[in-house]
């Protein structure tokens, strides 16, 4: 017990379980069974990802997964203290861990916006972000949602600047002029700051889930302390063309909605 052979004959230690090659029909049956348990109609076929490298969202979600698994484990460890090992601190903040405990499901969404809008000097630079929340299963309600952007340290002309970053929800779009916007948050940043910026977009996400036609995305704009509008890249914000593990994304925490539909008396 305690040792097994994987498909390629290597010895892998899976606590106490034998690992034998499945026959084709067994494989098919097992796949069908697992998909039904996961509640999935078919096996997903995500776009081809760069081999073995995850971008920021899956890395963040993997951290949440490890947090859950280590919590399950810590319950076991409480019962069997001799099994306790040192664990590296999770990436997720304390607040996200609280959301995680409460959630039944967590989803991260890929940014769908294709390009940055750069207008003439009179008009504002801004970056667009769009997320498709239409695939959420019935009955799931957003309990918390965050929009995450990675900011790198700025060198060069703006290295001593302070920036004012604003995140807007796009309320209405117009063909020939700027969209109507609703300010969600504004934040002062130092040029030398580096790390993930989190913005609470729970209310906006709930609106997008309940009324997909209102999902017109987010806009981020940045000004210098003198009020000059600059591009996000100049302020160190990483976009779609940046490092995979620093791509912008949004994450939403869901709970199966407790609302019970009461039949009329």
């Amino acid at each position: 017990a305690g040792s097994s052979f994987s498909v390629d004959g290597n010895v892998e230690a899976h606590a106490g379980f034998m690992h034998r090659r499945l026959r084709t029909h067994e494989k098919r049956e097992m796949q069908k069974e697992i998909l039904s348990v996961l509640g999935l109609p078919h096996r997903p076929r995500p776009h081809l990802l760069s081999q073995g490298k995850y971008n920021s969202a899956p890395l963040f979600m993997l951290d949440l997964y490890n947090t859950i698994s280590s919590e399950d484990k810590s319950q076991i460890l409480d019962r069997y203290p001799s099994m306790r090992t040192t664990q590296s601190p999770p990436l997720a903040t304390y607040q996200e861990t609280a959301f995680l405990n409460d959630a039944d499901m967590v989803m991260s969404f890929v940014n769908l916006a294709e390009y940055d809008r750069e207008f003439s000097p009179q008009r504002r630079h801004h970056k667009e972000f769009k997320f498709n929340l239409s695939q959420i299963p019935e009955g799931e309600a957003v309990t918390a949602a965050e929009f995450r952007l990675y900011k790198e340290c700025v060198s060069g002309a703006f290295r001593n600047e302070t920036f004012l970053l604003k995140v807007y929800q796009v309320v209405k779009e117009h063909p020939n002029r700027e969209a109507d916007l609703f300010l969600l948050e504004s934040r002062v940043l130092w040029a030398a700051e580096e790390g993930w910026l989190e913005f609470d977009i729970t209310a906006t996400s709930n609106l997008w889930v309940m009324s997909p036609v209102h999902n017109l995305g987010l806009q981020v704009s940045i000004e210098t302390s003198s009020g000059q509008s600059i591009g996000c890249k100049e302020a160190g914000l990483v976009g779609r063309d940046g490092a995979l593990e620093k791509q912008p994304f949004m994450v939403a925490f869901f709970k199966v909605s407790e609302v019970h539909i009461r039949s009329a008396r």
């Binding site: 899976h14 499945l22 997903p44 899956p58 499901m105």
Partner: protein, 139 residues
């Protein structure tokens, strides 16, 4: 009582549908040969072996149990899990030490969490709690 037992086995055998295609004859429950005795097996299901590592991020697999031998389910047109459980009960009465007790009670499964990509490359972390299995089997 020996005669009664033999008559009972004959009756058992005659009530069992013979699956000619498999040519299997039911084992003699009293034979010393325990090779086909009902046993619970453990199997590690690897998502990688299922060729699913492109969409399931974690875990890399899960531990499963299944039973084999006398308590296998010859589920064909005449024998379903419930009937089989009844037959096992009969056998259990006469040879309690030979086979484990059949059980059709709902069985609660461990909670699991799965991390995977959907078709749009969004990532989903889902907790599967309160899962109950209602199948009959050699628990």
């Amino acid at each position: 009582s020996t005669g009664g037992k033999r008559r009972q086995q004959n009756r058992n055998r005659s009530t069992q549908p013979q699956d000619a295609s498999r040519g299997s004859s039911l084992p003699d429950y009293n034979s010393s040969d325990q090779k086909t005795a009902c046993r619970k097996h453990e199997l590690y299901v690897s998502f990688r072996e299922l060729g699913w590592q492109d969409w399931i991020i974690a875990p890399d697999g899960y531990a499963a149990n299944y039973c084999d031998g006398e308590c296998s389910f010859p589920l064909n047109a005449h024998m379903n899990a419930t009937n089989h459980a009844i037959v096992q009960t009969l056998v259990h009465l006469m040879n309690p030490e030979n086979v484990p007790k059949p059980c059709c009670a709902p069985t609660k499964l461990h909670a699991i969490s799965v991390l995977y990509f959907d078709d749009n490359s969004n990532v989903i972390l889902k907790k599967y709690k309160n899962m109950v299995v209602r199948a009959c089997g050699c628990h």
